[in-house]
């Protein structure tokens, strides 16, 4: 290190000190570097939300079981735990891969390739948003979960139902501690079923932890908003690329690379949203 400081200031050869200016020490353009730092700050935002989810989940005696809550899929599919969200994850992974292809074609200055693969990426992102819209619609419109109401309760002891709800639960059905149930609405009123616990007490279904709905809509909504803005920017950059704007810049379609970083980050965040909300 001592030799370094001696050389500093006197050495006028091209190799001089990297940090003297004139060339990027990280060998990345300003735009790309700042995209990385933006993603770092965004990662902290998402981490804050997910850690809050963990803290609240640990503070509750019961928590809705995700493979019960997320077991519905379009076209009348029920009791298919996690199948629909797995499909959503695949959509994002595939769109991430098509994005890598777009960046590769950009490095070869292949305009048609860039536009084609970006178009597929946009389709994947839009498909994901469509799936999420269906999921939200199902939770809000059909199952009546909102930011402040969580009809997904969980039994703390085993027992037997004394009445049925006209859906999945019939009179005489038994349940174990840890089983999650959905309280249904009939004519706008909640129908909290009565049951007899193994200890002989008669109780009724209670609502689940309120925080569940708020956390779910806030975190998946925040992620969905990232996807939405990602799709918007992909669209803008795809149109720019198609118009030949980036051909003139002769920098290997760096703009595509930058939006690519953002798009992969959206996929990266989904890995963790998928982990904490659906898998664990």
């Amino acid at each position: 290190m001592a030799t370094d400081s001696m050389v500093h200031g006197t050495d006028t050869t091209a190799d001089g000190n990297l940090w003297d200016g004139g060339k990027p020490p990280f060998k990345a353009s300003y735009g790309k570097l700042m995209m990385w730092y933006f993603l770092l700050s965004d990662a902290f935002t998402f981490s804050g939300f997910l850690i809050a989810y963990g803290a609240l989940r640990f503070s509750m005696p019961t928590w809705p079981v995700p493979d019960f809550v997320f077991s519905t899929a379009p076209f009348g599919v029920h009791h298919a735990p996690l199948i629909f969200v797995t499909f959503m994850s695949f959509l994002l992974i595939v769109s991430s891969v098509t994005m890598v292809r777009a960046v590769q074609e950009g490095h070869r200055e292949n305009l048609r390739g860039v536009v084609f693969w970006m178009f597929l990426t946009i389709l994947g992102g839009a498909g994901f948003l469509g799936c999420q819209a269906w999921e939200w619609n199902n939770l809000i419109g059909v199952e009546h979960m909102t930011v402040t109401t969580n009809p997904f309760g969980t039994h703390i002891e085993s027992g037997v139902y004394l009445e049925g709800d006209g859906h999945d639960i019939k009179e005489g059905d038994t349940f174990e501690a840890g089983d999650t149930y959905l309280i249904h609405q009939h004519g706008g009123d909640w129908e909290q079923l009565k049951f007899k616990t193994s200890g002989g007490e008669i109780k009724q279904q209670e609502f689940g932890p309120k925080a569940f709905g708020a956390l779910f809509f806030f975190i998946t909504g925040f992620h969905g908003f990232h996807v939405l803005s990602g799709v918007a920017f992909l669209l803008i950059i795809m149109i720019n690329a198609a118009s030949g704007l980036y051909v003139k810049r002769k920098n290997g379609y760096e703009m595509v690379e930058k939006i690519g970083l953002y798009w992969h980050f959206v996929d990266l965040v989904w890995v963790f949203v998928f982990l904490v909300f659906y898998l664990l």
Binding site: P25, F26, K27, A28, L33, W36, Y37, L39, L40, A43, F44, S47, G48, I51, A52, G54, A55, L56, R57, F58, S59, M60, P61, V65, D67, P81, L82, T86, S89, F90, I93, V94, S96, V97, M99, V100, R101, Q104, R108, G260, L261, H264, F265, D267, L268, V271, F272, F274, L275, Y278, L279, L280
Partner: protein, 140 residues
């Protein structure tokens, strides 16, 4: 040049297969841990922990793959890599601290509910956290 391109292209599709396979394993593991594949195993505490750790490790692996291969972090300069990735280590403490805090909230809520029950059964004496004897001024 063309060979490099073909190699990179193949790498990308291998990445797709890898991420897809890891996701499928994760879903399988999660459902297995909840007793969907072999019923009855979900009551085991050890299995619950193993499945949880397995899922976290697989997700971290997916994250590593996306950052290093798809986002080309592996090809960046060491300084750039360090300046983006090292700050993430702050999260280690955030996770430990907030999960501890969450557990404490739960314990306190349980304690308060327990105390509420005691108060209902009480025989008309004054209640509260600190009870002083009116004569001796000592804590009871």
């Amino acid at each position: 040049m063309a060979q490099d391109y073909n190699k990179a292209k193949r790498g990308v599709y291998m990445g797709l297969l890898l991420l897809g396979a890891v996701t499928l394993v994760e879903v399988f593991l999660s459902l297995f841990g909840k007793g969907y594949i072999i019923s009855g195993v979900e009551s085991s505490k050890i299995l619950f922990a193993v499945v949880g750790i397995g899922l976290v490790v697989l997700s971290l692996y997916k994250a590593y793959f996306i950052v290093y291969e798809f986002m080309h972090m592996g090809h960046e300069v060491k300084g750039l890599r360090a300046s983006v990735l090292l700050p993430m280590l702050l999260l280690v403490w955030a996770i430990i601290a907030f999960f501890q805090e969450g557990g404490s909230w739960g314990d306190r809520r349980a304690l308060i509910e327990e105390k509420d029950k005691i108060e209902k059964e009480d025989t008309g004496k004054p209640t509260g956290m600190l009870l002083h004897d009116p004569q001796t001024k000592k804590l009871q």
